[in-house]
Symmetry: C2
Subunit: 215 residues, 2 copies
Amino acid sequence: MKKIQLQRVAPAEIEERSMEIITQELGERTFPADQLPVIKRAIHTSADFDYADNLVFSTGAVEKGIAAIRGGCTIVTDTQMAFSGVNKRVLEKFGGKAVCFMSDPDVAAEAKARGETRATVSMERAAALPGPLILAIGNAPTALVRACELIEAGKMAPALVIGVPVGFVNVVESKELLLTMDTPHIVARGRKGGSNIAAAICNALIYQASNNARE
Amino acid sequence: MKKIQLQRVAPAEIEERSMEIITQELGERTFPADQLPVIKRAIHTSADFDYADNLVFSTGAVEKGIAAIRGGCTIVTDTQMAFSGVNKRVLEKFGGKAVCFMSDPDVAAEAKARGETRATVSMERAAALPGPLILAIGNAPTALVRACELIEAGKMAPALVIGVPVGFVNVVESKELLLTMDTPHIVARGRKGGSNIAAAICNALIYQASNNARE
C-alpha cells in the first residue's frame, strides 16, 4: 500500500476546514450573508461550485425558512435519501419533524391507479398536513409541478419551497415555473440539484435556525 | 401561475428518456459496454457530465461487482443517505442486503472513545461481516482510508470498493490511495462524489446483475 500524506484534522474539524477551503475558492465573490451558508453547504455536499451560480433565492427566503424551522415546521421531502440526509435531531429541538411519503404503500397504490407519479401523490399528502411546511424537492419535477398547482389553487401555502430536482425531463421547466411564483423559494436553476442538495439546503437552514456555528 | 409546456412522458418512461438524452449528449465518446451504464447513472443522479471523465474502473471491476451481487453480497455504505438510495428490493432478490453502521450507538460510542470518525469504526464492523462484500463509500475519506488499511492487513477482502467520497479534506488523497491497490475498485477521481453517486453506482450494478433494461 502506497503511503499517503493525510492532513491531520480531527473529525469534528473536517467540516470546518472544508468550509474554509470553499470560502477561499469562492475568492472575491460576495453573497448575501444569509444565503452564503446555504450556497456553501450545497458546494460542500457536491464539491460542485456551479451552486455558487445556479442557486436563486426569492426575497427573504432564507429568513422565512429559518422562521418556519424555529416555529416547529414539517419538512416534506420527495425522496427517502433527502429524508435521511436532513438533520432531524436538530430539527426536533424546535418541535419540527421531517416526513417522506414516497414509500407509503397507499401512495404507491393511488399513483398507480391514477397514472401519476408517487411524487405527485406525495405532494397532495403534504397539502393535508397541519402547521407550517417546508417542501424539499430534490428529485421529481412532477412533485414540484403538483406543489405549484396546489399552491395556486389555495390548497397549500408552504413557508418555503426548496426546488432542486435534478435531471433531464421537465426538470428545468418545473423550476422555471416555481421561479414565477410568489411562494418563498430557493431554486437550483438548470438541470442540477438532487436529494443531497435538498438535504444540504435544509441543514443549512436548520443550523442557522439553531445559531450553530456550522455553516 | 405561468403556463409551462411540459413534455408528456409517462412516469415509467422518464428515466428511459433521461438516459437517451445523456447518451445523445455524450455524443461520439465511447466507453466500455459494462462501464457505460455506471457512468450514465452517475450523470443521471447529478446532471453532472464530469462523471464521464472522472470515473476510473480497475480491470473487470463492473463484472466483479455484478458477480458479487448475484452471489448475494452485502453492500456496506458509509451514510444513511447512500443506504436509502440503494435499490434493496432488487438486491434482496439475489439474497443480498445493504447495511449502514453509521447510526449504531455502539459505533458512535467507540468512535468517540478512540477519537476516530464513526466512518472508520463502521469499516471495522464491515470487516467482521461474513460473505462477499461491496463497500460503497460516498462520504468519508476516513472510511476509505481505514478500508484500505484493513484490506492491506488481510482483514477484509471486498469484491469491490466503490470509492466516491466527496469533499475537500483528505478526499482526493484517499481516492488516490485506493487507486494504487489491487482490490477491484470504481473511483470518482478528484473532489467529486457523494452518497447519491455511491448509491447510483450500486444501482447501476444491481440493474445489470438483474439484466434489467434500466441503464
